[in-house]
Symmetry: C2
Subunit: 280 residues, 2 copies
């Protein structure tokens, strides 16, 4: 068993197989995973914490009797949900031989905790990484503005008690400032801005109404190539300021241009956010 | 303070006011209540248990400093959810004077536990009873047939792992046997059948697909004048048998005619059921 490696290096395809002389043929698998963020301390493995990556790697350890490191398409924070998180990992061809992928998926679902479901399992081309091969990512942020607290969506939407509905058209005008390639330094928490570039490209921000289990809300759907830490939550917090009429739509453009986190709106709570889908 | 009365008698409008000589003018209020059934041992008050009615009556006790008995439109079982349960109670005119209904609703929401929301509060004509004045009741039962377990709907739908989708058209043909006035003795649990009539009228059974939080399912919407104990759950359990192809649609008609509980399908689990709406 080798030392545990940092997450970012796992995409290089290091295979921790038992073979010593010639490396066994590598096969790359990808899981599509849904989880209720309420039950996890975020995606990334952390010693002593129940995390999504930790739960999946624990299941893989049980199945393959060795440490199998995984790479996720997005490192969701504690409380953030996922419908279509993608997690990739490498196995030796000999480890897969004789196992059907359907059975492997069922075994993973049996070994992972409630609130986490492996919805699909497929083989990908050699070199595939859930993180680095991603072309675009989609997040959805749910807001509820009912005057009374939601019951069924309490864990899956941000309740913004309001005297009236949000001005969705003003929010759409504000969102238009964010579409395109920009420096999103003002729209992320500081930790992710150190050293690395804060340029990102947003392809689309789409707002629409929904009704789930009888409760009405608004969804902010954001599609982009990649996202900075808490970026969608700061976008949601800022658009809600506009929707409530506390700010004009143009303020979002000014905040973006400022590159100053203090100029943008608050960070909306984690439980309203769902990592929806990844495209490759 | 008088003795606690059985629920069924509260509709007669007995007012437990402090006035002794002349009864104070009675005013009747009705709450529209949503709750997540996961957190309650059913609707009906039970000593030592957290129930919906118990929680509401506790809040009323705190607000009015006396026992205020309530009547619900439907006594949902443990685990059953509600979006539009209606709960009525009487107050003396002097108890309401100087309080706005909006403020009373806010106070009730502050005093009741998480997972229970008073969505509306209105005054009704004298003699109104949430139970006896109801003209029709609507329940919705959610079924999910995904091959992998649902995450977001796990608490709000019955997961029926299936090799394929349910045959919804066969379920519709089966449901048609239930519409109209019938003896539903075969479609209820024994306790509710003792002594009282088991004749009920179903106005409509409507089946449709839904997607909630990215997970797909089928809703069985049932509207009727009143329902026997577990009646919607036995209907759902029976229709799912037909949807899976285990039974022909005509079997539902035969089960109904038999008046024998053993002839119908299984009782579907409580957590798939939501008491949706009441019409007056």
């Amino acid at each position: 068993m080798t030392e545990k490696q940092p997450v970012d290096n796992t995409a290089s395809g290091v295979l921790l197989s038992n073979s010593t002389e010639t490396p066994a043929a590598v096969r790359t698998l990808a899981l599509t995973v849904a989880y209720d963020g309420s039950g996890f301390k975020g995606f990334a493995r952390q010693p002593g914490q129940v995390t999504v990556q930790g739960a999946i790697e624990q299941a893989l350890l049980t199945l393959f009797r060795r440490e199998v490191l995984t790479t996720g398409a997005g490192r969701t924070d504690s409380g953030v949900h996922a419908l279509g998180q993608v997690v990739s990992f490498n196995l030796g061809a000999d480890e897969i031989d004789g196992r059907s992928l359907v059975k492997l998926q069922a075994s993973l679902n049996a070994l992972t905790p409630d609130g986490l479901t492996v919805r699909a399992l497929s083989e990908r081309p050699p070199g595939f990484s859930a993180r680095f091969s991603a072309r675009s990512r989609e997040y959805r942020y749910r807001v509820i503005t009912s005057s009374t607290p939601p019951v069924f969506l309490a864990r899956y939407a941000w309740w913004v008690p309001s005297d009236g509905p949000l001005d969705v058209n003003a929010m759409r005008r504000a969102a238009a400032f964010l579409v395109g390639e920009h420096d999103f330094k003002a729209f992320c928490v500081a930790s992710s801005a150190e050293g690395a570039t804060t340029m990102r490209r947003i392809e689309q921000v789409f707002l629409f109404g929904v009704q789930h289990l009888g409760e009405s809300g608004i969804v902010i759907q954001v599609v982009g190539n990649a996202f900075l830490h808490s970026m969608v939550r700061v976008i949601a917090g800022s658009l809600v300021e506009v929707g409530r009429g506390s700010r004009e739509p143009e303020w979002v453009g000014e905040a973006l241009a400022s590159r100053d986190r203090r100029a943008a709106g608050p960070t909306a709570p984690a439980h309203g956010l769902t990592f929806w889908r990844v495209s490759y």
